[in-house]
Amino acid sequence: MQYMLIHAGAAGLDDAWNDEAWAALRDWLDEAIGSGVSIEGAPLQLDADATTVKVRDGQLIVTDGPYAETKEQVAGYDVIEVGSAEEAVRWARRHPHAWMGSVEVRALVGGGSAVHLPGPAAGKTRYMMLVCTDPAVERRESAAVEPVESWVTEMSNRGVRLFGGELEPAGSARTVRGKDPGAVVTDGPFADTKEQIAGFDVLECADLDEAIEVAAKHPMASGGIVEVRPFRSLTED
């Protein structure tokens, strides 16, 4: 089974990345890879660099900022392939993000398949696209949202969608907070917002305009909210 570990943290999270946190992350990765757990993940730019895309009545609405205003913001992710939900939570407990903020654990619908992404192509920017529900959209309309398959096929063939998946409902999420052995696991997502993450796709685009265009074509742009946010480049100055 594949599980998404959603890293979340409050403002000032960057300052929490001290030597201890870096060492813990290194150990975490070494251990996971050593035990044969398949991992794909990356940190995101801060929510100030997020853009939200919606389509309402055929009109494209682009706004600055993340999909929801919350104290903690999505800061990165890992998708891990493990045998059970309990095992996924065990890995989440040991991730340094659990004590720097929180780690939400969510199963991918249908399990997904293991992926390793190489670095971005020259001149391209990689974006995390968070597909979210919007309670403001009437139930009747959200029920009429088109299936996502044709979007996935089109964007994968175009080379802009690298990887992604639908998540089990937020109600099934479990969130880990604190430092092991004292980490606390609670039921539910990291933020108790009306808008919830329902899926994600990793995009590789020429620029934000292309990412917005791709996001706007996603069926959930009409039936929900789609956020696009650049990944953090590891070679950034």
Binding site: A48, D49, T51, V62, T63, D207, L208, D209, I212, V228
Partner: protein
């Protein structure tokens, strides 16, 4: 010299950002070039082509800075800037073909800069600040004062916007023709917001605030020039010019606002009105009406009337009808009701108001009962007018609007006013 600076700042910034992709470097080099001009021009005289002079100095500054940096990226940027210097020498063939070019051979990249600053992925307040800073050269301190926010807040807003442009890779380009209908309105909205901030400033306000009107007009001029195929850009420019032409007459000696009806029309700037009229006629020739063109046409009707009584209200009512059909805005509907009342009598206006009130979209908006009150007063239905004035006054808080409503209330209910 201030005029040259204002014109050239945006052009230099736009060219350097295009060549280096580095917003901060561009700003520093533009700033250095202007500082040098301030030192040298008073001593050596203003050069024949001040714009080309500034561009050359700024570009050389950029090359120097990039040369001092050892990164690979800087080398690539340096080459990009050098390339424009090579092709942009004054004896370049293109220059001879275009003797009016004041840009030192560098193409005008301001349109890219405008579209990037006004990108929808930036917050509106960031778009406004970035546009004023990079295109008109207003300093961070001045923008902060103009928008009545602390300087640190404004500085943070600008830094954040530039970060997002870099991190999220907001492209530095003019959108393709197919995307223009979607993007142009966003740019026009930024310029109109800047204009209105300046227009709303009273005589007691900071000069910087009032200066926003001129900055907005300057930007609208650039946009109308660089987007000749967009009639709405011309429409916005004409609208701003019609409004600005009336600016001197809007305030009386006591600093109180004077309504359009009571303004001294001799104090209007008729040269500016004539210019605005030529621009709006030019825009309408494209036969693609839009909300700014219609608003400008309405402003033009008012400007054309020698007296308030001579206003062509039937035409204004028709224009508001078109505008209402286009925007679906209840505020436009309210204005239409006023125009219809002027054209066809207060009863016709009241009928429209009743429909608007039934719709409920303007509930709590004081101008709705205030307009009803005014129409009732003109019909001689003083008691009903009085309660409508009271209703409006209760919604408006304090200030000049409240004083105006109370004065009218006293007119229709003289005995109760004491």
């Amino acid at each position: 010299m201030a005029d040259v600076f204002r014109q050239e700042w945006g052009r230099i910034n736009a060219a350097l950002i295009h060549q280096t992709g580095d917003w901060d470097l561009a700003e520093e080099c533009a700033q250095d070039a202007f500082a040098q001009a301030l030192r040298r021009w008073p001593r050596d005289g203003v050069p024949d082509r001040p714009g080309a002079w500034l561009m050359t100095v700024a570009r050389n500054g950029a090359i120097d800075r990039l040369r001092r940096s050892r990164s690979y990226r800087a080398k690539v940027e340096e080459l990009a800037v050098m390339a424009t210097r090579e092709t942009g020498t004054p004896d370049d063939g293109q220059r001879d073909a275009d003797p009016d070019a004041e840009d030192g051979g560098v193409p005008d990249e301001r349109l890219r800069l405008i579209f990037t600053c006004c990108h929808p992925a930036l917050a509106m307040e960031a778009r406004v600040a970035l546009t004023l800073r990079t295109l008109t050269g207003l300093s961070t301190t001045e923008i902060a004062r103009a928008f009545l926010v602390p300087e640190a807040t404004m500085a943070k807003r600008l830094v954040r916007a530039k970060h997002k442009i870099t991190h999220a890779r907001i492209p530095y380009r003019v959108p393709p023709a197919s995307a223009l209908p979607q993007r142009v309105p966003g740019v026009l909205a930024v310029l109109y917001l800047v204009f209105n901030e300046g227009y709303a400033a009273s005589a007691g306000d900071d000069l910087i605030r009032r200066d926003l009107c001129d900055r907005a007009v300057g930007l609208a001029q650039v946009l109308a020039e660089l987007l000749p195929e967009e009639p709405e850009a011309k429409g916005l420019l004409a609208l701003m010019l019609f409004h600005r032409a009336r600016q001197a007459a809007r305030v009386n000696a006591d600093g109180e606002l004077v309504t359009l009806e009571d303004q001294d029309r001799a104090r209007w700037d008729h040269t500016q009105i004539a210019l605005a009229r030529r621009i709006i006629e030019d825009a309408f020739a494209a036969r693609r009406p839009g909300q700014y063109q219609l608003q400008a046409a309405i402003a033009g009707c008012h400007a054309a009337a020698a007296t308030a009584q001579a206003t062509d209200w039937p035409r204004i009512a028709r224009l508001y009808q078109l505008l209402a059909d286009m925007t679906g805005s209840p505020v436009v509907e309210l204005n239409r009701a006023v125009a219809v009342a002027m054209a066809d009598g207060p009863s016709a206006g009241l009928a429209l108001l009743r429909r608007l009130e039934a719709g409920g979209a303007l509930a709590g908006y004081y101008l709705l009962p205030a307009t009803r009150a005014d129409l009732l007063r003109r019909l001689g239905r003083d008691d009903e007018a009085a309660s409508a004035y009271e209703e409006a006054a209760a919604l408006v808080g304090t200030g000049p609007e409240r004083r105006f409503l109370n004065a009218r209330l006293a007119e229709v209910r003289p005995r109760d006013s004491g």
